[in-house]
């Protein structure tokens, strides 16, 4: 596994520079049922396809961002800052 990931700040880098932060899931509100919390803490979608994920550039700018990636072939569709989704700062990853 040696694909490239485009950090929105630093550009195209080796995936090993990053830490994978997990699938993006909405956190339940306090007061939600135990089952909702268990799902949030322990269950994963494990999609064979396109998913949204968190990534951290640990050997670089040390920022958190999100990526949309196809898990079947590691092609990264886009990477973006979460506070500016859809803006100019959303980097279109080159294959």
């Amino acid at each position: 596994m040696g694909f490239l990931l485009a950090c929105p700040n630093c550009g195209q880098r080796d995936v090993y520079e990053f830490r994978f932060g997990g699938e993006v899931h909405a956190r339940p509100q306090f007061g939600a049922s135990k089952k909702d919390w268990m799902d949030y803490v322990y269950r994963r979608s494990n999609t064979a396809g396109v998913e949204n994920e968190w990534w951290y550039h640990r050997m670089g700018c040390r920022r958190w961002f999100q990526a949309t990636r196809d898990t079947t072939n590691n092609s990264v569709l886009r990477t973006f800052w979460t506070d500016q989704e859809g803006s100019d700062n959303a980097v279109r990853a080159r294959k």
Binding site: N9, C10, R13, M59, G60, C61
Partner: protein, 265 residues
């Protein structure tokens, strides 16, 4: 209580300099190597023909971070190009605000991210709030925070035509002159630790001297120095260089060195 002597500042590479029998002197309260046994002439020659390594830990570093970073920098500088885009390095005295005082001479400003910059300077800041905080206190610029990170980073400079050859043995990121020319900075893994690489060429006898500053966590200093020395070989020699030779290759840095509290020699 009796008057206390001035505390001595040692770089994390101090014992390397002792091992290599450097001639040490005090600059801005730091013990720094003036030259090594071969002497400054030989050190300049090594930098012009192969690669010279020198300790730059004594440089001041000021981090500015927060959503107001760009506004703050623009308000205290009249240089074109400020605040710059991530990856850019702005050279020379970029700050023009008189409120910052004359005792503070930036060498360059690295734009690290959209909301983060690192100012690298010669000399020591006087005790008390740092100039940025002073600049911030009187202005309506919000949400920009300055932190003095001088102690956090050790610094190593690599100067010479073989710089790229050695760098490419220790980092997986593209640092070729094409992709990483003078005036650029990037953060990446270097010898398996995180480092900030700043490419600012020097100049000697009309020729540009390829030159890279590396900043990384102070605790790794000896490890990084050793990794660089071991990456060299018979064809690509790496030679230690003191500030005497360094200042000849980087005349701008020489001008600003030794400011504040005078030069203690």
């Amino acid at each position: 209580m009796a008057a206390t002597p001035t505390p001595l500042k040692l770089s994390a590479l101090h014992h390397k300099h002792l091992e290599l029998k450097a001639e040490l002197l005090k600059v801005d309260g730091w013990m720094v190597p003036d030259h090594y046994p071969k002497g400054p002439e030989d050190e300049v020659k090594a930098a012009m023909t192969s690669l010279a390594i020198s300790d730059r830990s004594q440089l001041g570093k000021l981090e500015i971070k927060g959503p107001g970073t760009d506004s703050l920098l623009q308000s205290i500088s009249s240089s074109p190009g400020v605040p710059g885009a991530p990856g850019e390095v702005l050279l020379g005295p970029v700050l023009s605000d008189p409120a910052l005082g004359a005792a503070f001479s930036p060498l360059y400003l690295c734009k690290l991210a959209r909301d983060q910059a690192l100012l690298v300077y010669s000399g020591t800041l006087p005790p008390g709030p740092n100039p940025m905080d002073v600049a911030l206190s009187g202005r309506p610029v919000e949400r920009a925070y300055a932190t003095n990170v001088t102690s956090v980073y050790a610094g190593i400079n690599l100067s010479g035509p073989n710089a790229f050859e050695i760098l490419s043995r220790l980092t997986q990121v593209d640092v070729s002159p094409r992709s990483f020319p003078s005036g650029r900075c990037l953060q990446a893994g270097f010898a398996n630790i995180l480092a900030l690489l700043v490419h600012v060429d020097g100049r000697y006898e009309g020729q540009a001297v390829p030159s890279y500053d590396l900043f990384f966590g102070r605790e790794y200093a000896e490890y990084v120095w050793d990794s660089i020395m071991e990456a060299g070989d018979d064809e690509v020699g790496v030679f230690p260089m003191g500030i005497s030779a360094y200042n000849r290759l980087h005349p701008d840095a020489a001008k600003t060195a030794g400011r504040t509290a005078g030069v203690n020699r």
